[in-house]
């Protein structure tokens, strides 16, 4: 414990660098994951897409079951076989995007499906187009649930980003892996503790954001 503390005192710039790297890769992945997840989630709630939805969600479930190391393995193989770099930022970000969008996709789908049909009908009855119904009724009502998915996704991504350090993604996983390979306990503790704190902090922050973006009328319940 003490050595870990000494390490932090002696090399604060290293810890800061890892943390920044970690946040950066998480951020890039989550932004793309949100866009893809929400778009796909909305798309499969459309009329006549029940079969597609069924399959997409099932595949998403299976992908969720896939251990993260496995996903990295697949990606490395695929990327190297199409001639791209199999190590570093790119495969890591792709893996994180895949993982991150699953909770978002599922929550978006469920939330929109569960909007009270009476409200959708009310929207149509007032002359809203399908698009307006989506943006003015369905999505705002689905926001709290989507946000819960987003929160899950972020915490998940922070954790998996630590694993992604092994394929050269950088971040707080670096000291953990280095420590495990060289039996440097101080490095293991520095990495493990800081990534845990980061995850807990971001989770707490997201729970605030969740409250903040929930439409006022939905909160009183």
């Amino acid at each position: 414990m003490l050595e870990a503390w000494e390490y932090v005192i002696n090399h604060p710039e290293k810890l800061a660098g890892w943390t920044l790297d970690h946040l950066q890769i998480t951020f890039v992945a989550i932004v793309i994951a949100v866009i893809l997840g929400v778009a796909l989630g909305v798309y499969i709630t459309g009329k006549g897409k029940e079969h597609i939805a069924d399959i997409v969600l099932y595949i998403a479930d299976i992908a969720m079951t896939t251990p993260s190391l496995a996903l990295f393995g697949f990606l490395m193989l695929i990327l190297s076989s199409i001639g791209l770099r199999a190590i570093g930022f790119l495969p890591a970000v792709i893996a994180l995007i895949i993982y991150g969008q699953l909770p978002i996709l599922r929550n978006t789908y469920t939330a929109i499906r569960e909007v009270d049909p009476a409200m959708i009908e009310a929207g149509r009855a007032m002359g809203m187009t399908e698009k307006q119904v989506l943006f003015k009724v369905k999505l705002p009502l689905a926001v709290p649930v989507i946000m819960a998915g987003l929160r899950n996704a972020i915490v998940l991504i922070i954790g998996i980003a630590a694993i992604a350090a092994m394929i050269g993604a950088g971040g707080l996983g670096v000291p953990i892996w280095r420590g495990l390979r060289n039996a440097r306990m101080d490095l293991i503790i520095v990495g493990g503790v800081s990534v845990s704190i980061l995850a807990l902090l971001v989770d707490a922050l997201m729970s605030r954001v969740e409250q903040w973006v929930t439409p006022k009328g939905l909160k009183t319940r």
Binding site: M1, H51, D54, I55, Y58, I59, I62, T65, T66, P67, S68, L69, A70, L71, F72, G73, F74, M76, L77, S80, A86, I87, V155, I158, G159, I160, A162, I163, M166, I167, G173, I176, G179, L180, R181, A183, M185, I188, I189, G191, G192, V193, V195, S196, A199, L200, D203
Partner: protein, 259 residues
């Protein structure tokens, strides 16, 4: 039906992939040096054992713990006619459930890695780490399952003269079981994945193959291990989902179909 097709094709693909990579072994001049059959089988076997042991421990701790924190003050009769009155454990519920939530937020790699400085390298510290991570979904789901039972149903049972034990056995348990099983399924699937990482602190299993591949940057070796790990996770998840469905009382299923 469509789901079965997807499932079977994915499983076939994964297992086939691993078998194919392993069979590359006899091309000796190749760049890749995959693990031999005996290693692959051994690792699969020990991986499965790690998962089963860890999961059994997690269930044995998690389910009773979750049940306990939903119980108000109650007395239990021990052998030899000793009567013990237990305090109201519901006060501990926020601590247990909150703890489970915080625990789930901690990245698996961090939890596993930190076991090394605390417990040293070895099978035990690997097991401790994966049990802790596997415990959380079980506690959370079991607690929610029991806590979300409609109080009107419990009151009706009590109003008809069922004792506390009868309510627990005949009403609460059958109603909560499907969701407890979901928790166990999620936990098992997660455990298959964390077991792969647990090799880092001295565990056994397919992680040995995967991580060798990782450290030597050989995608094929990584795949040799991970394809089987994924297949195991998917297969166990499917089996547990099936068991869960079988354990769901028929009256609850009818409802699920209608809604």
């Amino acid at each position: 039906m469509r789901r079965y097709i997807v499932l079977v094709s994915i499983l076939t693909l994964l297992i086939g992939l691993s078998v194919w990579i392993t069979s590359l072994e006899w091309i000796k001049e190749g760049v890749y040096k995959p693990f031999p059959w005996s290693d692959v089988l051994n690792c699969t076997w020990s991986h499965l054992w790690m998962v089963l042991i860890a999961e059994s421990i997690a269930i044995a701790i998690g389910v009773p713990l979750a049940i306990l924190v939903t119980r108000p003050r109650f007395a239990i009769r021990l052998p030899f006619g000793i009567l013990v009155t237990l305090p109201d454990f519901r006060k501990l519920a926020p601590v247990v459930v909150g703890g489970a939530n915080v625990g789930q937020t901690i990245p698996s790699l961090a939890l596993i890695a930190i076991m090394a400085p605390i417990l040293g390298f070895g099978l035990n510290s690997a097991l401790v780490a994966i049990v802790i991570w596997g415990l959380l979904p079980i506690v959370r789901n079991s607690y929610a399952a029991i806590n979300n039972i409609d109080p009107a149903i419990v009151e009706a049972a009590s109003g008809m003269g069922m004792t506390r034990g009868q309510i627990a056995r005949k009403i609460e348990l059958p109603l909560a079981l499907p969701i407890i099983m979901v928790g166990i399924r999620i936990s098992t699937v997660i455990t298959v994945g964390t077991t792969e990482l647990a090799v880092l602190v001295g565990g056994a299993g397919l992680g040995r193959i995967t991580l060798t591949g990782v450290f030597s940057m050989q995608p094929l070796t990584i795949l040799q291990g991970t394809a089987l790990t994924s297949a195991m996770a998917i297969a166990l998840g499917f089996i547990l989902e099936y068991i869960g469905r079988r354990m769901t009382a028929r009256g609850l299923k009818v409802k699920a179909q209608m809604s």
